[in-house]
Symmetry: C2
Subunit: 344 residues, 2 copies
Amino acid sequence: MIVTIKDVAKEANVAPSTVSRVISNSPRISEKTKKRVREVMEQLGYHPNFQARSLAAKSTQAIGVIMPNSAFHAFQNPFFPEVLRGISTNAHTNKYGIYLSTGSTEDEIFEEVTSMVQGRRVDGIVLLYSRVNDKTMKFLQEADFPFTVVGRPDENEERVTYVDNDNIFITKQITNYLIKLGHKNIAFVGGSLDFVVTIDRLNGFKLALSEAGIPFNDEYLVNEELIKENGKKAITALMNLQSPPTGLVTQDDLIAYEIISHLEDMKIRVPDDVSIVSFNNLLLSEHSKPSITSVDIAIYQLGFEAAKCLIEIIKNPDLLPRRITIPTKIIERKSCANNKNIPM
Amino acid sequence: MIVTIKDVAKEANVAPSTVSRVISNSPRISEKTKKRVREVMEQLGYHPNFQARSLAAKSTQAIGVIMPNSAFHAFQNPFFPEVLRGISTNAHTNKYGIYLSTGSTEDEIFEEVTSMVQGRRVDGIVLLYSRVNDKTMKFLQEADFPFTVVGRPDENEERVTYVDNDNIFITKQITNYLIKLGHKNIAFVGGSLDFVVTIDRLNGFKLALSEAGIPFNDEYLVNEELIKENGKKAITALMNLQSPPTGLVTQDDLIAYEIISHLEDMKIRVPDDVSIVSFNNLLLSEHSKPSITSVDIAIYQLGFEAAKCLIEIIKNPDLLPRRITIPTKIIERKSCANNKNIPM
DNA sequence: TTGAAAGCGCTAACAG
DNA sequence: CTGTTAGCGCTTTCAA
C-alpha cells in the first residue's frame, strides 16, 4: 500500500541506491536515468519517508520553536503569532518544518527541549525568550546543539547567536520623549525581571532618568503580571500615590490599552492627564482611542532572522556566533501630551 | 557519543528488546529489571530516538496543524494562537507533539499536507479551516488519513469528524438582537464566501432578517478583505448609501474595532448612530471604547476538542465520525443602542 | 554511472 | 519474564 524506494527501484529497473541518489539529485546519475526514475516516482505516487530519511541521514529538516511558559497566558498577544510568522516564512523557503513546543512550566519546557534534542526530533531550536539563569539555554550550549535566541542571552552573550532589538537604547529614547514633553514622574510598567528584555528596558529607562537628573522612584515600578491579574487595583494604587505619575512607559500595547481603559474609568484622561508610550506597535494601536505612541520592534523580522541564522548554523556548524540587531522605530501617535501639571 | 538502546542494554546486562519494553512500560517485565534499566538510562542520559521509533513502530507521536493560507495575513488576530493553545494543551497531555504547517497558498498547503501524510511526518492532522471545495480535505478523506476539522466541512459532512459552533443559529440570534433594538438596515461584514463559516453565518443572518420580514439588501454585504485593504474607503462607501445601515454584524472584534475607529473619524458615533455586534470576544473587546457586544465562540475549546477527537481517532481508527458543537454565548456590552432613526 | 550491502536506533514477532 | 532476530525505509560507503 505504501510505496517505498524499493518499489520505485523495481519498477524502474534500478537499485534502491540509485533512486535515493535521484531524490537527492546527485550529479553522478545520468539525466536519462533520473528522468526515468522520476517518472516512475510520479506514476507510483512516491513520497519519501521522513523518519527513515532522518534516521539514515541524521537530519530531520525540522526546527523546534520554544515558547516561554508565560506565552500562552499572554497568547492573546500578537507577539508570538507574528514572530512565528517570520520564523515559518523563512523556514518554509528553506524547506524546514516547524515543530512547536508549548510547555507550561519551566521544567516542562526543559523536558521537552531535552527530548527534542536527544531524541533528534529537530535539527535546531529557536528560543523565543531569554530569561535569567535559564537551564534550557545552558543545556543547549553544553550539548552544542544548534540554536538561536530571540532576545539577548543573560550570560555567554558572545558565545550564542541571537537576534534582538537594542532595548536599552530604544527605551532610553522613548523615555526621553516623555521627559522632553515635561514629564518627571514617570512610571515603568514591565514584566518579570527574570526576562532579560525587561532588565534591558528598565536599564534604558533608568538611564534616561539619570541623564535628565530625575531620581528613580521605586513606587513607579509596576509589575505587568499584577495588571493582568487585577488591573483596576494596580492602577488605582499607582494613581493614588502622593504624587502620581503623569507619564507611563509600558511594555506592550495590549497592556497600555487596558491601562487606558482603567484610567478612563477613573476619569483620568489620556493624554490630557497622563501620557503613555508603549512597545510592539500592534495593529490596534493605530485604531484605538487615543491611538498609542508605540515602538515598532519589527517582530516579524526578529523571527525571520532568528530562523535564518539557525538554518545557517545547522548547515554550517562552524559558523561563528553573531548578534543581529533589528532596528526599531518610534511611531508617534496621540497618547502623549505636554505635562500640564508643571510650569513649562 | 549518542547513547542508544544498545548501550543501555549492555550496561544493564539485558537485551535491547528488554530496554525497549521498559521504555513502553510493558507489564511483562519485572519491576526489578525495570528499576535497574531505568537507573542505567538515567545514569547514561538516555533519550529515545523518535525517528527510529517512528520508523519501527509506524507512529510519530505528532499531529499536524494546518493553518488557512489567509491566516498569516490575519495573524495579528488572536484566533489562531488561541485555538493553537487549545490544541497544544490537549496534545501535550497526550504526549503528542505539534507540527505546524504554514503554506501561503492553497497549493503550498496541499503540497505540505501530502508530504506530511505520505512522508509519515505526523499521525494525524487538524485542519484549522473549512473552505468550499477544498482539495486538501478531499485528499485526506481519500487517503483515509486521520484528521479533524475546526469548522463545518463543505461536503461529506457526515463522514468527517469536526468541531464547530452552531454558526447559523448564533448569527441568527445576534442579528435578532439588533432587530429587537429596532434596527432594520443591518449590514453584514464577512470574509470570503469560500469559507464555510462565512456561508453559515450569512445564512443565519438572512434567516433572522426574513423571519422579521426585512428584505435582504445586497448593498449591505461588505467584504472583510476590503476593510483590511482600505477600511476607510469601504466604510465611507457603506455609510454614504442612500439609506445607510444603523446596525452592523461583523465577524471579528478586530474588524469591528477598526470599523468603529473609521466611523468615529466620520463623526458617526457608536452606539448612538450605529450599533455593532461581533464575534470572538477577544480580550480587547472588553476594554475598548465602546466595549463591544460580541459572541464568545470558545476558541480554546474548539482547538482542545479538535485535538482530543483527533487523538482518539489515531488511537482507534474505527471510531465513527462525529460532530462536536461548542456552545457560544453572547456577551452584551456597550456597542449597541436602540435605533433612534425610526419611531419606536 | 550504477549496484550491493551495511547500518541508522528502534520495535515486535517468535522462541524459550 | 527475557533474548534473538528480522525488519521499518532510507543513505552511504565501497566496489564494480
